[in-house]
């Protein structure tokens, strides 16, 4: 070996490389919050939006909303929707009903997750009230009625990706949580 490896120039490049590796690793490990923020802002992946008031503008054009509910195999919950579809004007407020019944003789803790398809409409599916991403405990045999109040943002007709969409499917899944 002709040269000692620990010259200042060598150490400098090693430091740069280590910093790059550390930085990329840090970004990757923080992908979850970054990605969540990104999805909320852009509606990416069918992430629906939450609103505090109805839009005020109602278009003449109607849109059909379909409802899908499901639970993973083996979940002791019966999950039903009160309507398979609903047609309403864009901008008009809609109300959908869902019922959940605990089929077992033990309390069941569960959490609902949802999205809409086509995914691109996520940005325009506005919920005023919903049950989602909150743990719920269902007592043995209990049946709960869960409403969702929502509207479709009139801006949907302005976006190239979504203006030709006439049907949106809202899909809910109830997942049992480990400790319940």
């Amino acid at each position: 070996m002709a040269m000692s490896p620990n010259t200042p120039q060598n150490i400098r490049w090693v430091a740069i490389c280590v910093a790059i590796v550390g930085g990329m690793l840090a970004i990757a490990l923080n992908a979850a919050p970054l990605y969540d923020a990104f999805c909320k802002v852009t509606g990416f992946g069918g992430t629906t939006q939450t609103a505090t008031k109805a839009p005020g503008v109602v278009l003449d054009q109607t849109i059909e909303i379909r409802f899908d509910v499901n639970v993973p195999p083996g979940t002791p919950l019966e999950f039903k929707t009160g309507q398979t579809s609903e047609t309403l004007k864009i901008g008009e407020t809609g109300l959908a009903h869902f019922t959940v019944r605990n089929l077992s003789d033990r309390p069941v803790k569960a959490i609902a997750s949802y999205n809409v398809t086509p995914h691109t409409t996520g940005l325009y599916f506005q919920k005023l009230q919903c049950f989602c991403f909150e743990d719920m405990v269902f007592q043995p045999g209990q049946t709960l009625d869960l409403p969702v109040i929502y509207f479709i943002d009139p801006d949907i007709v302005k976006n190239r990706d979504t203006r030709d969409v006439h049907t949106i499917t809202l899909s809910y899944t109830y997942y049992q949580q480990a400790d319940g």
Binding site: V14, C17, G22, M24, I27, S113, R160
Partner: protein, 579 residues
């Protein structure tokens, strides 16, 4: 440097003092870039044989409809006696050695991972990179010789973990992880499907292989930036060195993202986090984004050193400098840069917006431009040259031809509308095997036949090398060309069985495998002939350079094999002598 002058004086005597190859400590504690390169090459050959045998089982299974080898599901009774790979248990029943259809998926998964992480990468970067980057830039060794040793020895550890992963319980379906080399969640996180230790071991294995590559990458970066001989400016470096430089930057930037993603898989599996678990508010599609942010640069990591090797060879055997040297170097740089912003072309079917899709289509197609520059420059280098069709040149021309074919199907797949139909079909399998198992592998063989006399000081039989090439060329084309048809007909990948309609081309493809396997036997016979049976030394006249005037890079100025410690007097590179 000044302080080393005295050390030099007595080192000269040791310059050619080569320890015995039969001393295991020479290899275990080696800090010599050439010895470490040799170990990487041998490791890659072993992994290639194992990965190749696994693909043999895959093609055997797919040779005809129905289950041939992976019949474990039919195990209920005792019908295993006349089945392939049947083993008798102590209680008299018969079991399938390779398990059921899950076993098939494990085979496919591990074939892919072994070929990528334990064959192509060690051969190109660890093997040729270690051997020839220091020689080509006129450096005495790598910048951190001991770290180099660690980089290598981490690999067998990673490989051992991957092997154990195949043998321990994977989940409800049997041993091993069968979710594909992409390790997509939720298949890889589901306790029901892959609850066993298998996936955890695989994650550990990839972590260790990744650390090995990152250490290697740092070593190459420092070596190339700080240890070039006087006069060897960046713009005079041989294109192979450029290709390794770009490759190791890609490794440095992309591997930590893979490490992060699989760490999250690990915590999702074992510590109750919900990064990719929809039930807990996570998103499995996020895993795909992270994986492919690593994955697409990774496919260029696999091919860029091949570009470098082929550039050296085409120039040597056309007896001309490479056409458009700077363009070639910066084409690689731009491929590397653009490679980071096209990842979602692997994910068109997850349902992104039209605009995002249009962006990824356009960005992906743009990569074809620097790639095309390279292909045209190789052709322009050959144009009007006095071409010598020696064995390395055959492989290099074969590479150009087959890689271009794979590039063309890549551009087809880049169109999201077409890809929605072809995604996860055999068309994709055909595409990436044209660029990988033909592109990358042909480049490796080209480099091997090019530098083998330099590394060993021995001659090989050109006849056997040529025979190997032609059998391989015919064989791999018969394996993979029909897979385009199967994909267009809609045959999906990653299934052990298929409807009768796909039988014909699958049978042809399996025959292609048999032909290729014969080619591999010729390769090993060539090695046997070279190192054991005839052991012909290079004649003194051609000892430094058996390839004549076309071979102009620095490694051809040294003896074959090069002295154990070279360039104690640093060479000075003059203006006209570079690349």
């Amino acid at each position: 440097m000044a302080t080393n002058q005295t050390a030099h004086a007595d080192e000269h005597a040791h310059g050619d003092h080569r320890p015995s190859p039969y001393n295991p400590l020479r290899w275990l504690f080696s800090t010599n870039h050439k010895d470490i390169g040799t170990m990487y090459l041998i490791f890659a050959i072993i992994a290639g044989v194992i990965g190749g045998a696994m693909s043999g089982l895959i093609r055997w299974e797919l040779a005809e409809p129905g289950v041939q080898i992976f019949w474990g599901m039919a195990d209920a009774g005792n019908l295993g006696t006349d089945k392939l790979f049947s083993v008798q248990m102590p209680d008299g029943s018969h079991k399938a050695i390779f398990g059921n259809e899950h076993g098939y998926n494990v085979m496919v998964t591990m074939h892919g991972l072994i070929m990528i992480f334990f064959m192509v990468m060690p051969a190109m970067i660890g093997g040729f990179g270690n051997w020839f980057v220091p020689l080509m830039i006129g450096a005495p060794d790598m910048a951190f010789p001991r770290m180099n040793n660690i980089s290598f020895w981490l690999l067998p550890v990673a490989f051992a973990l991957a092997t154990i992963s195949m043998l321990v319980p994977g989940g409800s379906m049997g041993q091993g992880f069968g979710g594909g080399w992409t390790l997509y969640a939720p298949l890889s996180t589901s306790q029901q499907l892959h609850g066993g230790p298998s996936m955890d071991l695989l994650i550990l294995s990839l972590h260790i292989a990744g650390i090995s590559s990152i250490l290697g990458a740092i070593n190459f970066i420092v070596t190339i930036f700080n240890m070039r001989a006087p006069g060897m400016t960046l713009h005079r470096m041989p294109l192979f060195v450029w290709s390794i430089l770009v490759t190791v930057w890609l490794l440095l930037l992309s591997l930590p993202v893979l490490a992060g993603a699989i760490t999250m898989l690990l915590t999702d599996r074992n510590f109750g986090t919900n990064f990719f678990n929809a039930a807990g508010g996570g998103d499995p599609v996020m895993y795909q984004h992270l994986f492919w942010f690593f994955g697409h640069p990774e496919v260029y990591i696999l091919i860029l050193p091949g570009f470098g090797i082929v550039s050296q060879i085409v120039s040597t055997f056309s007896k001309k400098p490479v056409f458009g040297y700077l363009g070639m170097a910066y084409a690689m740089v731009s491929i590397g840069v653009i490679g980071f912003i096209v990842w979602a072309h692997h994910m068109y079917t997850v349902g992104m917006g039209l605009e995002l899709e249009a962006y990824f289509v356009a960005a992906t197609m743009i990569i074809a431009v620097p790639t095309g520059i390279k292909i045209f420059s190789w052709i322009a280098t050959m144009w009007g040259g006095s071409i010598d069709l020696k064995v390395p040149m055959l492989w290099a021309i074969g590479f150009i031809f087959l890689f271009t074919l794979g590039g063309v199907t890549g551009v087809v797949l880049a169109n999201s509308g077409i890809d929605t139909v072809l995604h996860d079909t055999y068309y994709v399998v055909a595409h990436f095997h044209y660029v990988l198992s033909m592109g990358a592998v042909f480049a490796i063989f080209a480099g091997f036949y090019y530098w083998l006399p330099k590394m060993s000081g021995l001659k090989y039989s050109g006849l056997l090398g040529g025979l190997h090439f032609w059998i391989f060329f015919v064989g791999v084309n018969i394996i993979f060309f029909p897979q385009h048809f199967l994909g267009l007909q809609g045959m999906p990948r990653r299934y052990a069985d298929y409807p009768d309609g796909f039988a014909y081309w699958n049978y042809v493809s399996s025959i292609g495998y048999a032909i290729t396997a014969v080619g591999a036997l010729v390769f090993f016979y060539m090695l046997l002939d070279m190192f054991v049976l005839r052991r012909r030394k290079l004649e003194t006249a051609e000892n430094a350079s058996p390839w004549g005037e076309g071979a102009t890079t620095l490694e051809w100025t040294l003896s074959s094999p090069p002295p154990f410690h070279q360039f104690n007097e640093l060479p000075v590179v003059a203006e006209e002598k570079h690349h």
